[in-house]
């Protein structure tokens, strides 16, 4: 599982941070997504998928 984040699309809503703060953060500067762990352990998979699903701008994706 590899997380890809498109900061150009990100609108800084914070849904990923709210869902999985171990993996996602927001930049202090403009609030866009910062991926703390792009290849998180398998036990976080459902949380990652939920964060991807909840992202309002479609900025997040996962490669298997």
């Amino acid at each position: 599982m590899k997380i890809k984040a498109d900061t150009g699309r990100c609108i800084g809503a914070g849904m990923c941070v709210l869902t999985l703060p171990r993996v996602f953060d927001q930049s202090e500067d403009d609030g866009t997504v910062v991926v703390l762990d792009a290849e998180p352990p398998a036990d976080l998979e459902s949380g990652v998928k939920r964060a991807v699903q909840l992202c309002p701008s479609g900025a997040l994706s996962v490669e298997e």
Binding site: I11, G12, A13, G14, M15, V17, L18, T19, P21, D25, Q26, S27, E28, D29, D30, G31, T32, R50, Q53, L54, P56, S57, G58
Partner: protein, 398 residues
């Protein structure tokens, strides 16, 4: 052969029960989650009541929010299309114009920044509860609790003097009142805009540690644009949470088993707030978008120029997404609701709203374990005539 269903003539606003969307919307959803609707000006557009369809449209930038393209789903707002856009009013802009404004603000509303406000929001909440105790029952919960908390918080964040609340609360009530004439709305916008523009000019001379001063110092926006941004954030920042607090408390008081969970189980509060957001869906109409090109949604071809009105309330009750969604169940997984919208316009202040609600509901219910309505439930005046639904007043005893 069955008879063709008569088309819905404009969007229904009247609610049969305090907490449910109009029955007409649920009937339409059961019939077809996306269907034709005649708009107030005669335009043949669409009504979307299904969750999947509403979410898809909100996420799709081929649908525009620009006011000059909009058709109104209700007769009261038909003339508003020709109104000039207030500078900086980015909720009514498409990308990339919208992106530029939003990017200047998102850093101020991150999950971390909002968490840092927790102690201050707790302090404000406790001081309102102290005042209620001092003044004694009965009280109007809207005036003494639901409205002051988010108003104080957004005033401090933006740098708007709270003493001026009489003015902005009055103007925003006129703006949101669906019975206001276009002249009344225009005057209220002008009044509030002049006020905020004046504040921006004052902050240019004497900056403070607040969002408006920060935008002035950043130098990327004109003072006129910052005035419009301030207008948008001030209204969005207090009316919404205020109505969630008022209506949410009313809903909990009429569902005592749910109330007990919110009062007694701190671990349940986070999800309870999401469920209250889903169940109550205070956005009373729309949003409405306009297709910029032909787009297929849910098997229907929406042509360029056609209007699409979503019912967030109906989508949030869609049984395909939320089973038994007409019941308030604070333990159900409620994430994914559309109450803050979806797509690039999803609520900028949602993390602030969440923290305000997570603090305010349990604090109120713990301070006053015997909180109850001071009037029969059917006498609580509902905001059926306002763009943001809720209660006008909530008389309570404890």
């Amino acid at each position: 052969m069955t008879e063709a269903t008569p088309r819905l003539a404009t969007y229904p606003l009247a609610r049969e029960r305090a907490f449910d969307p109009p029955d007409e919307l649920a009937r339409r959803r059961a019939e077809a989650p996306i269907q034709r609707m005649t708009y107030a000006d005669g335009h043949e557009g669409w009504l979307v009541t299904g969750y999947a369809e509403a979410r898809a449209i909100l996420a799709d930038n081929r649908f525009s929010t620009r006011p000059e393209l909009l058709h109104s789903p209700i007769p009261q707002r038909s003339e508003f299309r020709s109104e000039p856009l207030t500078p900086g009013f980015f909720i009514r802009m498409d990308a990339p114009a919208h992106t530029r404004y939003r990017r200047l603000l998102t850093g101020q509303f991150t999950v971390r920044r909002m968490k840092q406000l927790e102690p201050r929001i707790q302090e404000i909440t406790e001081s309102r509860l102290d005042a209620m105790e001092r003044e004694g029952a009965p009280a109007d919960l809207v005036e003494s609790f639901a409205l002051p908390i988010p108003s104080l918080v957004i005033c401090e964040l933006l740098g708007v003097p709270y003493e001026d609340r009489g003015k902005f609360q009055h103007d925003s009530a006129v703006l949101l009142n669906l019975s206001s004439s276009i002249e009344e709305v225009r005057a209220a916008v002008q009044d509030l805009y002049s006020y905020l523009h004046g504040l921006v000019l004052a902050k240019a001379k004497e900056p403070a540690d607040d969002i408006l001063s920060g935008l002035v110092a950043g130098g990327e926006l004109t003072h006129e644009e910052i005035g419009g941004v301030g207008l948008l954030l001030l209204i969005a920042g207090h009316e919404t949470t205020a109505n969630m607090l008022g209506l949410g408390t009313f809903a909990l008081l009429t569902n005592p088993d749910q109330l007990a969970v919110v009062r007694d189980d701190p671990a349940a509060v986070e999800n309870a707030v999401e469920e209250l957001l889903r169940y109550l869906s205070i956005v009373h109409i729309g949003p409405t978008r306009t297709a910029l090109e032909d787009v297929e949604v849910g098997g229907c071809l929406i042509r360029a120029g056609e209007a699409v009105t979503l019912s967030v309330a109906a989508a949030n009750r869609d049984p395909e997404r939320f089973e038994g969604g007409d019941t308030l169940d604070v333990t159900r997984p409620a994430h994914g609701h559309l109450s803050f919208g979806h797509g690039i316009h999803q609520c900028l202040g949602q993390q602030l709203a969440r923290i305000e609600m997570r603090i305010a509901y349990p604090a109120l219910l713990r301070r006053f374990p015997n909180l109850r309505l001071a009037v029969p439930a059917h006498e609580v005046p509902m905001r059926s005539n306002m763009a943001i639904y809720g209660v006008h007043r909530l008389p309570v005893l404890w």
